[in-house]
Amino acid sequence: MEYALIIGAKSDIGRALAARYARAGYNLYLAARKSEELTREADNLRIRYNVRVATLEFDLLDTGNHEEIYKQLSPRPAGTICVAGYLGDQKIAEIDFSEARKIIDTNFTGWVSLLNIIAEDYESSGSGFIIGISSVAGDRGRRSNTIYGSSKAAFTTYLSGLRHRLHSSGVVVLTVKPGFVRTRMTEGMDLPEKLTAKPEEVAEDVFRAHRKARAIVYTRWYWRWIMWVITRMPDRLFQRISI
């Protein structure tokens, strides 16, 4: 069976996606920083799903190593799932550019570096899939996430461009836009229960959208309509509301 490469495999959404793809029979490459911490998860997936699992050390910000790490993978992964992300601290990012840069580089620049290499590979082989976990935050900038939101907007646009580029080669590119998800990133935040998904729901939505070769999936699904309203709201009104 084919391998899927999951980058950000320690995150809650990464774990849920690894389990979902393993359940579907995919072997896995789990990538993250401090990859020794992935050993537990690798054991777990092997026992639960009887698939092959390899772990690898990978840092999105260390762009100089991306090509070498990817070329070492044998067999090459049939699909790449991009989960890693960094919310950062908006208040710090406003006054300290190094925080802003870390947010931008993790959510956008790092992916451009890696996915350029992978897109090249998939394009020449005429197959593959790329799944990027972006965010509804990228649909319209807000005061509470000027940097995170714009970095996700850039990632969304980049994925959209990749989809356009790779369409004729038969490579599927899926953009995932989660709303609120109960993860480490949102721990301690007071999230509305009805609008908040569990990582497992996100994984299931992603897997289904991938199977149907969809271009964009919102999860939970009604975020599409929430964002439809938010993105169409006249600026004069938008300035007055606090979201």
């Binding site: 998860e41 026992i47 480490r184």
Partner: protein
């Protein structure tokens, strides 16, 4: 956040720290907060409550499984349900299981849970081959019967007070099918049911529902259920195709809190009467699924809501075998007179066991639910005195209210436990509402 355990009493304001790695655990332990680890919060009272709680639910990886011996190593946050879904279809089952599968392995070890096979297989601790535990210092140690032996015995049944159970190793048992060959036997009174337990000692599983509201000559009337894992050739034809199947069963959810008066002496009496009478005289035989036999209440999600907003407490005690007959008779008398017994009362004969804070010992255990009402605790205090008089003790995992003195009289090894705890947790890092209440 406001948090309770399964009995929904007591309820306290807590901070829940979710941990995803040993690094996370160390970070929290390095703070000078007192802490108690918590899994699914299925203990009934205040064992897994504290102002700071460390949730182990994300630490839920399987680490190793030996297909030959059934030896499984998994993390503390793995649930029994996880294990069943994965391993029943492969022909394995838990060596010991309590009446719910919605608990974590860490919680099961800390409570040293028992099941319907205690008389034959002992409690869970008998099957644990090794534990990996994080101490208050952040250091991790392995313990087993050969290594750090004292610490091992203190941790099995230690209510999470010795450290955080990171991993447990135990052997699953082979089962021929995912069905149980069950016999149901009606007993007219206490003598008859106790006799039945004695004569059923060859059965792997046995437990009885008891009508705790029955008075006079009917006192102690019960229905014994005993079972064995069904062999393939015992299955009726239509069940052979699903002999190894174990899937998500359908379930109901209790949608809201029941009004507190819906369970009263009349409704419970009526229920018990019907329940008792629907079982035929003599022995009824059937082939039943694992869930129906071991986890009947798991089919009704949030069943704790039937006891209303104020919650309930489950009262479970064990009496030494010698004094069980007389003791149970006295206690059932008090309960029937009080008139607040529940329809979920369970009687079971335990086999031999020793331990520090471990609950089981040879003799009869009775468990029943009481909705929290004014005047309840006074009655339970009276019952406590009777239980102690007959040399019995109470199950910490169910307890929410007993007095410190009651605990210490029932658990003569508590001092020994405290000594061991002191050595491994000198600053008393691991504490719960219960451990402070009982002075553990």
């Amino acid at each position: 956040m406001e948090l309770t355990n399964w009995g929904r009493y007591p309820s306290i304001e807590t901070t829940l720290h979710a941990c995803r790695s040993e690094g996370d655990l160390r970070a929290i332990l390095s703070d000078d907060k007192k802490i108690i680890p918590r899994g699914l919060g299925r203990c009934y009272g205040d064992s897994a409550l504290n102002s700071d709680i460390l949730s182990t639910l994300h630490l839920n990886c399987f680490r190793a499984f030996d297909e030959g011996t059934g030896e499984l190593t998994c993390e503390g946050g793995v649930t029994l349900e996880d294990i069943l879904y994965l391993f029943v279809p492969r022909g394995w089952f838990l060596p010991v299981t309590p009446g719910t599968r919605f608990i974590t392995v860490g919680g099961a070890v800390a409570s040293d849970v028992h099941g319907k096979n205690h008389h034959a297989a002992g409690a869970l601790s008998r099957h644990i081959r090794g534990l990996k535990v994080m101490l208050a210092s952040g250091e991790t140690i392995f313990c087993s019967r050969d290594e750090n032996e004292e610490f091992f015995h203190a941790t099995c049944g230690g209510m999470g007070l010795t450290g955080i159970i990171l991993e447990a190793t135990f052997r699953l048992i082979r089962i021929p099918t995912a069905f149980i060959r069950q016999e149901t036997v009606r007993a007219a009174d206490l003598d008859e049911i106790m006799n039945l337990f004695e004569t059923s000692s060859d059965w792997t599983y046995s437990v009885a529902w008891i009508d705790c509201m029955a008075r006079g000559g009917r006192r102690g009337r019960s229905i014994l259920m005993r079972g064995e894992h069904a062999r393939m050739e015992e299955l009726p034809g239509r069940k052979i195709a699903e002999a190894r199947m174990y899937g998500k069963n359908s379930h109901m959810t209790v949608p809201c809190d029941f009004p507190s008066l819906s369970l009263n002496r009349f409704s419970v009496r009526a229920f018990n009467e019907i329940y008792y009478r629907k079982t035929r005289h003599g022995i009824s035989r059937s082939i039943t699924g694992l869930d129906a036999f071991f986890y009947p209440l798991d089919g009704i999600l949030q069943w704790n809501r039937i006891y209303g907003k104020r919650g309930f407490t489950q009262y479970q005690f064990v009496l030494p075998k010698e004094s069980s007959r007389e003791g149970l008779d006295t206690i059932l008398g008090v309960i029937a007179e009080f008139g607040q017994g529940s329809f979920l009362a369970v009687l079971k004969l335990f086999g031999k066991q020793e331990g520090l804070l471990n609950f089981p010992r040879e003799g009869y255990t009775l468990a029943l639910d009481f909705p929290i009402r004014d005047g309840l605790f006074e009655v339970l205090d009276r019952l406590d005195a009777v239980v102690l008089d007959y040399g019995g003790r109470h199950y910490l995992t169910k307890d929410a209210r007993m007095a410190k003195e009651t605990f210490h009289k029932g658990y003569p090894n508590a001092g020994r436990f405290a000594e061991i705890k002191k050595r491994y947790d000198p600053d008393g890092k691991f504490q719960s509402l219960q451990s402070r209440r009982l002075g553990i």
